[in-house]
Subunit: 157 residues, 2 copies
């Protein structure tokens, strides 16, 4: 299983950077992995707190997510208002996101051309890209359908 492989690499990363191997850190990875592709830290903290045996405090979750970002297994993918939505990337290829501003649904998509453009633009400006983020905010098909429903109800079916 590739989660195990990831953990082993993370362990090596920790060792190489003078960090210690603690149970909590690996339990947090398990939680993130089983939570779903996208998460917010406060959400994760609440979820963990609700479990039978709480494995880590708020501070530890924040600290571990930061480590995972440095390691490269977690990425900040959406910044909306004061919310930060993270993604457990774990080897997934880079991709972008459509965000429904009505229901919060997140749709992933990949367009190779975007990477090509990034390279072209950066070269033009002699700029060395480290990472990028493309967020498209809008209304998803479900929410559009719902609005249509509501309109019908208002008019009187």
């Amino acid at each position: 299983m590739q989660l195990e492989e990831l953990k082993q690499k993370f362990e090596k990363f920790l060792r190489q950077n003078g960090h210690k191997i603690t149970k909590g850190r690996f339990e947090i990875i398990d939680k993130i992995a089983s939570y779903g592709p996208h998460f917010e830290i406060e959400e994760l903290v609440r979820w963990i707190a609700n479990q039978d045996r709480s494995i880590a405090s708020r501070s530890t979750v924040y600290r571990t997510v930061r480590l995972l970002q440095e390691f490269g297994a977690v990425r900040e993918v959406i910044k909306l208002g004061n919310r930060t939505i993270y993604e457990f990337t774990a080897g997934k290829p880079h991709h972008e996101h459509l965000i429904c501003v009505e229901c919060g649904k997140i749709i992933e998509f990949y367009k190779e051309e975007i990477e090509e453009f990034q390279d072209k633009v950066c070269e033009e400006h002699n700029f060395t890209p480290l990472n990028h983020r493309l967020e498209i905010f809008g209304i998803c098909s479900d929410c559009k359908a719902k609005k249509y429903e509501n309109r019908r109800l208002e008019v009187g079916a």
Copy 2:
């Protein structure tokens, strides 16, 4: 001058939405326009506070920037950590940004293809786009040059 035109349109916008025409709001627009293309609110607040005659409180600046966003003259273009960088768009066509993570320099660029992709991807997902934001984080040419200088100095010129 097109700033005047913008103000007139904003005045109409305010009237249409049941808001009042106050001196402060227009003075804030002047400040934003003379500040430069990109600004952060706290920065703007401090700058305004340092003027001979302080024209608006922190809350009013925040509230006015929000109105200007609804109106469409101001846009959140970069979210980095807990910082939000705004742009005074005022009719400028949509474009994207390169952000130097060393010195904070912001470089604007436009690629029509990005708009085309957005439309294509959104169509595929039956998603109605409202706005988007592409941020490319990296190191600008100046900072790369500076690093090169430092390396030379360390080695001993």
